[in-house]
């Protein structure tokens, strides 16, 4: 028995060894390096390998860091809310309305935006929203405005719009999977036991879709906090988010220990928030349908 298990474990380990090695080299090692750096001292152009908590103290004492972190969290929260709220009806439509033989086609269509690079998609929004962009020139050509609208670009709203568009499929797919897993007879049972369609949705469909919603929230929230491209391109550098701050510390100012401390601090906050969110939703997640 033990031998059999050992062989099986061995086989499993051999099977996952290449991706595991890859993950260790490209994820764990850099992460641990950053963690180590955050406790080192910064000498001019060098790094002094002496343990210190100065970087963290400096980070948290800095009002700019706090402002930017709060802004990042706010933007990420808004992006998450907009994305998930818009993704749910799409996922619902896909799961409940689209005929089974057409679902594959619909999923294919939803993922089409991913055929272009993220940078190009973000830049596209600049083309749409810009000073001489699609919207402004369109409105001007129709004589609806004389001067281009300036509030379209370079603000939080445009950042939220761009990120929501980019992350839409990440939210649609997990919610769709959760909805697909719901036994349709449960919805009939809800109706049979006297509830209207709306109340059945509220009491049966939504709680059972929550694992997908929770996954969608995390999948959108975590990467958007650290997004670097959109604040740069769409925010025009005027509304930096935490990734821009880290980049500035690491490369422009060349204070790698402080940059590392900012990065680790931001990660810690995101981890804490994500765990809190999972904890709040724990009753939805333990269901094994």
């Amino acid at each position: 028995m033990a031998t059999g298990n050992g062989t099986e474990t061995g086989q499993g380990l051999r099977l996952i060894a290449p991706p595991l090695l890859y993950a260790i080299l490209l994820l764990a090692v850099p992460l641990l390096t950053i963690l180590a750096y955050s406790f080192f001292k910064d000498g001019y152009l060098t790094i002094v390998r002496e343990f210190t908590l100065e970087n963290y103290l400096a980070t948290w004492a800095d009002p700019i860091f706090r402002t930017i972190l709060v802004r990042s969290l706010m933007v990420a929260a808004m992006v998450t809310a907009v994305t998930v709220l818009m993704a749910f009806p799409v996922a619902y439509f896909l799961s409940f309305v689209v005929a089974p033989e057409r679902k594959a086609l619909w999923i294919f269509l939803i993922t089409i935006p991913f055929w272009t690079s993220y940078l190009v998609r973000v830049f596209l929004w600049k083309v749409i929203l810009g000073f001489n962009g699609v919207i402004n020139s369109g409105l001007k050509a129709n004589g609806l405005i004389d001067e281009p609208l300036k509030f379209l670009l370079y603000n939080t709203g445009s950042i939220v719009m761009t990120l929501s568009h980019s992350y839409a499929p990440f939210a649609i797919l997990p919610i769709y999977v959760a909805l697909e897993k719901i036994d349709r007879s449960l919805l009939e049972a809800g109706r049979d036991l006297g509830e209207s369609r709306l109340m059945t949705f509220w009491r049966v469909t939504l709680p059972l879709a929550m694992p997908g919603v929770v996954a969608a929230v995390l999948i959108v929230f975590i990467p958007t906090i650290g997004d670097y491209v959109t604040p740069t391109v769409i925010g025009g550098g005027k509304i930096p988010m935490v990734a821009n701050l880290i980049q500035a510390q690491m490369l422009d100012i060349d204070n790698k220990p402080l940059g590392s401390a900012v990065a680790i601090s931001a990660m810690a906050v995101v981890t804490a928030l994500s765990l809190a969110f999972l904890f709040l939703n724990r009753r939805f997640l333990k269901v094994r349908a």
């Binding site: 009939e188 809800g190 049979d192 036991l193 006297g194 509830e195 009753r283």
Partner: protein, 396 residues
Amino acid sequence: MTAAHTLQPVALAASASPRGPARPALDDRKPMIECRGVQKYYGDYHALRGIDLTIREGEFFSLLGPSGCGKTTLLRTIAGFEGIDGGVVLVDGRDMANVPANVRPTNMVFQSYAIFPHLTVAENVGFGLRRDPRSRAEKAAAVDDALDMVGMKGFGGRAAHALSGGQRQRVALARALILKPKVLLLDEPLSALDRKMREQMQVELIKLQRQVGITFVLVTHDQEEALVMSDRIAVMFEGEIAQLDGPEALYARPASRRVADFIGVMNFMPARIVGEGADHVTVAVPGFGTVDIPAANVSRADRGDAGPSIGFRPEAATLLPMGAEAPGRVTEGVIDEVVYYGDMTYYDVIMDGSDDYDGVPHEVRISMRNVFGREVPDVGTRVRVSWSPGSLVLFR
């Protein structure tokens, strides 16, 4: 003389059910469900072809048929999950045409049980009580009572996903019955259970139905289940009701050869009609000779049947050793095959002269209860077969 009377009840014994003493005659009770000319199409597929039936208050009614016969569709039209394309469905005298499923006085036990996996057992059972004006404590007591009724006392706090199949079924029953529906609809409720559990639940369902007095409509493809539990059974084929009768009548006098074939085991033999009397039809049957079939035992043949045929239940005859005296008519034959089932044995007997009819020997399957300590006769043994003309059914 007295001996001749004992044979007939023996032939029907297998259809006896544990339903106990009779209740008020069905015909005196008010109709609870009435279907009149119910039609249902799925695209071009004609699922229900004019269903007419009346189910009476407090009745245990079964819709029996092979898969695809429309029995589940009919149940779902009564529940309100499917609209109908013609005809009328009345529940307790009220036309259900524009009544959505959530306000119909019916509740359903689903084939998959449809237990809400995100709720506890008590929350499942109390699901339909949200708008009940009673206090929280009263509702909790009602939930406890309902769980007690289905033998699940003390399970209220359990997570629904941790239940076994039989427990899920009980929760589904409690959840439906707590709402005191006028009709309880059961969609193949026992098909997911193993044999032992199924037989136990059959008896429990009968007891429960008598206890609550609610009209039960059961959908099943299992003829034994329908015979055991039902007051009346509608046998359905291809969207039509082929026969609507009590279990005994259905078993002993099937309305057509197809019904006979679906309900239990039936021997079929070709027959030639040689004469007709006022109260009987005289037929020639291979191995049985010339038999007068009572008019009550004459049913119709189905489209596609080659000609008239005779149906004969395996338990409607008795095997006797050679030389033994027997009541009724007695023929002789040779055992060609023995199939042992523990409590009973099937014997395929080739009766003497069975090949006179069309040149090929015809086997008849006869079942006998095994008597403890008595040897089962072997293949090749010559036996006497005792039977009565009243246990033969003619399909013409």
